[in-house]
């Protein structure tokens, strides 16, 4: 008898806390989040001037064109292409430092960077943990500055201003590392080009 009573008690308390922590709690955060901070709550989606979504400010994209700053290497191709369909993916290479495949990949990347006249800086040769890293280091952006300026036919100084503008600093100047938001920077440069053509 007491055995059944103990079981019933366990079942009832489980159901009560299921209601509280699994339904009420996330719904409350959903309501508050969507109500107060709708932009962040929906994934910090960036739109172009026509209002079409072009990405998220927190997630970078694959850039190969000369006129764009290039993102870091990614094991998941920035959740683009067939493999990412339909839900999206994330993750790192999970290559150990002693794995010969890692060294091979890095040598290839470094050679390619050197062909483009870019120094092999850590964040440009190592792939990110999420495969979606929105940033490159300030140094890595400076290295690509000349190429982008040439491809766009503008003064490097102008682009330098944009780099500074889209550099996310440390919290309180202490926690985290500064990084240049690649997607926001590239899109801002595109917008500048459009403005210039219109004038």
């Amino acid at each position: 008898m007491s055995f059944i009573r103990e079981i019933l008690r366990a079942i009832r308390i489980t159901l009560i806390f299921w209601l509280v922590t699994a339904i009420i709690y996330p719904l409350a955060i959903l309501v508050v989040g969507q109500g107060l901070f709708p932009i962040q709550a929906n994934g910090s989606i960036m739109e172009n001037i026509e209002g079409t979504p072009i990405g998220s400010t927190l997630i970078s994209q694959v850039f190969t064109s000369e006129k764009y700053f290039h993102s870091r290497p990614s094991a998941v191709r920035y959740s683009q292409g067939r493999k990412a369909k339909p839900t999206g993916i994330s993750g790192g290479s999970n290559l150990a430092p002693s794995n010969p495949a890692l060294l091979e990949r890095i040598i290839e990347e470094a050679n390619q960077l050197r062909d483009e006249n870019v120094q092999p800086i850590a964040d440009l040769i190592y792939s990110s943990g999420s495969g979606l890293d929105p940033h490159i280091s300030v140094q890595a952006a400076r290295q690509q500055l000349e190429r982008v300026a040439r491809a766009r036919g503008v003064q490097p100084d102008e682009i330098l201003l944009a780099i500074n503008k889209f550099t996310d600093g440390r919290f309180l100047g202490i926690f985290g590392e500064p990084g240049v938001n690649v997607l926001r920077l590239n899109y801002a440069l595109d917008l500048q080009d459009i403005n210039r053509q219109q004038n």
């Binding site: 699994a22 994330s90 790192g92 290479s93």
Partner: protein
């Protein structure tokens, strides 16, 4: 380098500052004293007790407490298994995900019921939002509160009190500690950029015309309890390295503090229960010093970088493989050591790509289980070592060992030994089996010494209820799902049962009056001896594995081959 160390140092200063505050609060909650949330929570708790038929005044014996844990955990497991199994029929499944295979669901449920949160699936491609939030998110609260309850019951028994009532402890853990902090933290995370939406994966055309799939979901509510409850199971495959789980330096700080706050505070909570704050601080500093050394080892390795890469390219760069620019080497190394120390298991950089020094520090934590240790249970492990130290030092001087005025006898030593022996047994034996069949079973993805680390890490993480992993390992196979499930279950419930029985028998003992000859356990020298015994026991058991894995890999890298 200085900037990196400053970040680590300041983060640890915040931890030290909040430890006494939170520790005292937790103690007041479980001692039933007045706390600030009384006015809101008292009526809520009363209705929980009435509806569930719990009489809060009823004290439980050791076995009653154990049964209550096992029954609730079993029922939670069944409930969550069915929720995931029927996710196709349930709401909040905008991406239309179907049923995962039975062994991955079983492993996932066992892993989340036990606060382990080892994941052999990728969140975004496998589970619906409802499965994430209402199935796994639910277990994140209850498994953390269960651990907390065990820790508190253990402290009660050790300090001569009755064990208390599991349902009351579970309730108060959720309503007074986990839920309020999670609500505040989750709202802060949304403000800082963590999504909380039930909208489907967004498909967009990139600037260069490619198609990008942006996975989203109700992440913020999930993320906060994931960190605070030492759960660590990521919403996305990349866990806290994903910009949607951890978008900037401030969210990283919040999540780091949330991860370590309760395990650090529990030591202070013990001090309040035992009315011996001095001993609590001594134990705190003992753990803290070992922790700082491990952070130093790991951070040094990452900062130095990969000698193979640096040598070949002729550069001096830190190792950023598997790391995010916004965290860098320092925050990632700190997180890696902390997440394995506190049995959280969330990662903000990929552990498989850590330098051997980082792998050494993380494995070391998983082996010892007391450098902070899991939610509630970590503190209990710490006192198991304390009891063992009393016993050994008692043998040395030829006196009956006693702790807190109670004699330690055969039963206590048997239980303590059982608790400490289970871990190596369920880590090393299955590792040996998996390594014996490197092609059919092990699923190793990185060759040589690192492959050994991958296998051992997986079982150590399972048995220690940590949940992080060297994720290159091909672990979604029948063998891995079932064998780690066994390690998880044994590593969780056998020690919990033994701890509660031990606490029960301690609480029933007559106290013996203190004499000048009584061994004082709150002295610096005793704490130092404890640290020595912890290290010797841990090193003796696991050193061969450390030598074969990270140490050998480190030498290999240093030799440049």
């Amino acid at each position: 380098m200085g900037q990196g160390l400053l970040q680590i140092g300041l983060t640890l200063c915040i931890v030290i500052a909040i430890t006494p505050v939170l520790g005292r609060y937790i103690a007041r909650v479980f001692l039933g004293e007045r706390t600030i949330l009384d006015r809101v929570m008292n009526p809520i708790e009363r209705s929980v007790y009435v509806i569930s038929g719990v009489r809060p005044k009823d004290e439980m014996t050791g076995w009653q407490y154990i049964r209550a844990i096992l029954y609730t955990n079993l029922f939670m497991g069944i409930l969550v298994y069915s929720l995931i199994y029927f996710q196709r029929l349930l709401p909040w499944n905008p991406n239309g995900l179907g049923v995962p295979s039975w062994d991955i669901v079983l492993h996932t449920v066992i892993s989340f019921v036990t606060n382990t949160d080892q994941q052999h699936y990728a969140g975004e491609t496998t589970l619906s939002y409802f499965s994430q939030v209402a199935a796994l998110g639910f277990l994140m609260f209850t498994s953390a509160a269960t651990g907390l309850a065990v820790g508190i019951a253990f402290i009660r028994g050790l300090t001569g009190r009755k064990l208390g009532n599991f349902y009351v402890d579970l309730t108060r853990g959720i309503t007074r500690i986990l839920l309020p902090i999670s609500v505040i933290g989750a709202i802060a995370l949304v403000l800082l950029g963590v999504p909380q939406t039930i909208g489907e994966t967004l498909t967009i055309t990139t600037l260069e015309g490619g198609t990008q799939y942006i996975a989203r979901g109700p992440v913020a509510s999930f993320e906060m309890i994931k960190m605070l409850g030492e759960n660590g199971g990521g919403f996305f495959a990349a866990n806290s390295a994903h910009p949607f789980e951890n978008p900037n330096g401030l969210t990283n700080l919040i999540e780091t503090i949330a991860m370590i706050a309760i395990p650090a505070a529990m030591i202070y909570t013990y001090g309040v229960f035992a009315k011996n704050i001095k001993q609590a601080w001594l134990l705190f500093w003992m753990v803290f010093i070992v922790f700082v050394i491990l952070v130093w080892v790991a951070a040094g390795g990452e900062l130095q970088g990969n000698p193979l890469v640096n040598g070949t390219l002729g550069i001096e760069q830190p190792n950023l493989e598997g790391k995010e620019v916004r965290f860098g080497w320092a925050e990632t190394a700190l997180w890696a050591v902390m997440t394995t120390a506190t049995m959280c298991g969330a990662v903000n950089g990929m552990h498989d790509s850590l330098m051997p020094q980082g792998l050494f520090a993380t494995l070391f934590n998983l082996f010892l289980q007391i450098i902070w240790g899991g939610q509630g249970t970590g503190t209990a492990y710490l006192f198991i070592y304390l009891i063992l130290t009393v016993f050994l030092t008692g043998l040395m001087v030829g006196r009956t060992p006693e702790i807190f005025g109670r004699k330690i006898e055969k039963r206590e030593i048997v239980l303590a030994s059982l608790i400490l022996l289970i871990h190596p047994i369920v880590v090393l034996i299955p590792s040996a089996i998996a390594l014996a069949y490197p092609f059919s079973l092990s699923g190793i993805s990185n060759p040589s010494f690192h492959g050994i680390s991958q296998v051992v890490y997986e079982y150590a993480s399972a048995s220690a209820n940590n949940g992080s992993g060297l994720e290159g390992l091909t672990d979604n196979s029948l063998w891995w799902n079932l064998s780690t499930s066994l390690s998880i279950l044994t590593g969780r419930y056998v020690p919990i049962i033994a701890m509660l029985l031990l606490a029960d028998s301690m609480s029933r003992k007559q106290t013996v009056p203190q004499t000048p000859g009584t061994l004082k356990t709150d002295s610096l020298i005793f704490t130092t001896v404890t640290a020595g015994i912890v290290l010797i026991l841990g090193v003796l058991t696991f050193f061969p594995v450390l030598a074969l894995g990270p140490i050998a890999e480190g030498f290999k890298l240093a030799s440049g081959s």
